[in-house]
Symmetry: C2
Subunit: 471 residues, 2 copies
């Protein structure tokens, strides 16, 4: 009896498993080299760091059967990579960003820009946000192209995501014709837990402001002038405490909540079923305690409600010990997460007006803004990504909102249309809460990489098979 | 007719003027070398910096006809220098400190530890506080010794003044027998203006505390956790705003003012006549505005009332731009200037108790404490220093209190007794408000040096002539 040859599906599966196994070393090498390029967009260590990254990733595409173009902007360049398999095939655009958060926290146990590998975990700034997921999607696309999956896969790798994607709109406007897509998939979101993948249906927006107060030209001796001199830090702290309630988080700016719509019954039902656990949330993020103990209230707080966050106060003395000066200038770094229907510009005006009534001496700078985002909640793209995640990780993802912000998405949604309809945008996130987005000792891991490659390959195959695009 | 030979007084005066002229270069060289040893006691750049300074100054005495001993302590060493002219002569002890404040302010226009000379002004950390005045007194003493003025002059040069003189008491206790003095003069205070020398009659005390709050293990992403996560910086700001009123400076800790005695009528009369000018105070310290516009109220605030000062808040993100994390740990650096009869330990207990009622999660550390100090207001020492200042600067000094703190003084007063009476302590300060105690671009100048040498020489001569010591 001659053995039955394995099915094409089975053969594909075997090849994919071998590809993943064979490419582990390659993944680690690339991730290590990309982490070593410290693309801190808020505070780059040298100006050419972004060019270096752009050239590195362009080379990545060019040596893997793809092509890539470096698009200059008024800020950092954007890399557009492409695996083109043929005309009249659906085109999927994958969005990632390759800039990273600063990594100055003393809690880092190893150099943030030297990849440290421990038990299949990869530590370094940007590993999970968003270089690791970018590389994962890239490897999946190179495999799909190699397999001849009939889909075109484009990558947009931005390097200003962490500073508000300020030049993204002009890039999309200019390149609009070259960027036509039938679907956009974003890989820059976080699961509820290591056991519960999610598909995000919306994102919060963001308004970053800096408040500044100067009461004199320079800090002075508190013995010689203390009592008479104004204290810029104290006065700024007071103002910030009048803008929001530090314990509850309630925002005290008149009109701030006016346009906020509470989650619908359907959304709340999704929240209830999503598997969010208060204990796990606390553990994953290493919190000692939270502002609320109620499960639904916590989900509402992180996904569906706006926030006011004080990130840091600059001024006076922050070195070791106590330096007895009266600080004469102070700066408060603040951001507000905004929910759909809140407009960052309107909120800025409300804040500015209220601040003037509290303390007219404080100056305010609009540092960055991102619109809130509402993604698809149903339709073919949602089904494709759901299948993909199930294949990659053996679990059906749940639909929830995401508390973070990705400035590029409302822009992509606005400009990239197919037949006058907005291009659908969905999310295939690979990061886990414990990976530490924006935190010290940020890491990614091999399990999410391997599962992520499988999920993305399935997503690309679904796109090719379904051919959902209305011509 | 033969010319009348000049009087011995006139000859002394001529020699002194020549000495001052001849020693300008030497002064600058020594000051430059001492500034280049960065004796930042709160944050030394390397451990041996204090030993280096001790050896440098020991050599200074030994090559100028004096002797010097380096006394080790549990912290930084103390240098005791001596110009001994004979037994049964009065002994004056001059107190200075050679440690300096940190110099991390971005406003420095040149390296703080490289002396920059511009128009007879000497810029660098420690130039006016207190290396310049120390060197001035030293040069005067070396001249007096060279002239054979019958007085013994001892110097105590401490290197922990800026961190609360924590090892000074054990030094004085141990060396008590060798430190016997008939009068102590301190050169570490500031005039009211460049035209108005002062003699301080009291100092404020100091209590430095650090408040710490930790709400989680590490800072987390404000998109993923914002709304649910507590914000350690905001909560700490709120607590600080409940401990004092940021605009008026009023301290809100129950019992804080209980032991404060208002200035006497005589003191207020001295204040009124001292030549303090609101405009000049603002200009000298480069303030845009002050907490009060009333002259007497301002003097009361800086000399006779306690304060609560927030020096800086550590935590979260203080680099460029806005980093959207929820800070999970925060530290507030605080000090309180205390007036005579307030006890730092009692105040600490009041603060701790009240803080517990406001926010039990906040931890408090007593970082440093200095007792308030009441100096002599009349008597031979006061007359001597008055004469000395008049000789040095051509102006009669006024008696006022000083808002700063010098931890060593209550200790010297406590342990160094003559015939069971406390040794009298007075002040011969040389610094000007515009020199910038603890401020960026701190400087000293040649005019204060030259006048200071004259004043100190006169002081030493007065001590020899008056021989006021009761045997």
């Amino acid at each position: 009896m001659r053995p039955v040859p394995p099915s094409p599906q089975r053969q594909h599966s075997t090849r994919l498993n071998r590809f993943i196994e064979d490419n582990k070393g390659r993944f680690v090498t690339h991730l290590s080299e990309m982490v070593a390029i410290p693309t801190v967009s808020a505070d780059p260590p040298y100006p050419s760091v972004f060019t270096k990254m752009a050239e590195y990733t362009q080379n990545l595409f060019q040596t893997s059967g793809g092509t890539a173009e470096i698009i200059p902007t008024h800020g950092n360049p954007i890399v557009v990579g492409l695996f083109h398999t043929g005309r009249n095939r659906p085109t999927i655009t994958v969005y990632n960003h390759l800039d990273v958060q600063p990594a100055t926290e003393p809690a880092w146990v190893s150099d943030p820009f030297t990849l440290r590998i421990a038990k299949n975990r990869y530590f370094g700034r940007g590993t999970t946000d968003d270089k690791g997921p970018a590389l994962t999607a890239f490897l999946a696309a190179s495999f799909a192209a190699q397999e001849g999956v009939p889909v075109n896969i484009r990558f947009i790798w931005e390097m200003e995501e962490e500073i508000g994607s300020r030049n993204f709109e002009s890039f999309v406007k200019t390149k609009r014709a070259d960027l036509k897509s039938d679907g956009i998939v974003v890989s820059d979101t976080v699961w509820i837990s290591a056991r519960q993948p999610v598909i995000s249906t919306g994102l919060r927006g963001l308004l970053c402001v800096i408040l500044r107060l100067r009461t004199g030209k320079e800090d002075r001796h508190s013995g010689l002038t203390g009592g008479a001199a104004r204290n810029a830090i104290s006065e700024l702290c007071e103002a910030v405490c009048r803008l929001h309630h530090p314990r509850t988080g309630d925002v005290l700016i008149p009109g701030f909540y006016e346009k906020v719509r509470p989650p619908t019954k359907e959304e709340l039902a999704d929240f209830e079923q999503c598997g969010f656990s208060v204990l796990r949330f606390k553990r994953d993020h290493k919190f000692h305690s939270l502002r609320s103990g109620t499960r639904l209230d916590l989900m509402r707080r992180i996904w569906a409600e706006p926030t006011f966050e004080l990130h840091g106060i600059v001024g006076g003395h922050s070195g070791p010990g106590v330096k007895t000066i009266v600080p004469q200038s102070a700066e408060a770094k603040i951001s507000m997460r905004l929910v759909p229907h809140q407009d960052p510009d309107e909120i800025f005006d409300l804040l500015k007006k209220y601040l003037r009534s509290i303390h007219p001496g404080i100056e305010i700078e609009k540092n960055a803004k991102l619109l809130p985002f509402e993604g698809v909640t149903s339709g073919p793209l949602m089904e494709m990504v759901s299948k993909a995640m199930e294949e990659g990780f053996g679990r059906i993802p749940v639909r929830v909102r995401e508390g973070g912000s990705i400035g590029a998405l409302p822009i992509l949604q606005k400009y990239l249309k197919t037949n006058a309809a907005a291009v659908p945008v969905t999310f295939l996130g690979l990061s886990l809460p414990e990976h530490g987005y924006h935190a010290p000792n940020e890491h990614f891991d091999w399990q999410q990489t391997a599962g992520g490659i499988k999920a993305f390959v399935r997503f690309f195959r679904e796109a090719a098979i379904r051919n959902w695009v209305k011509k």
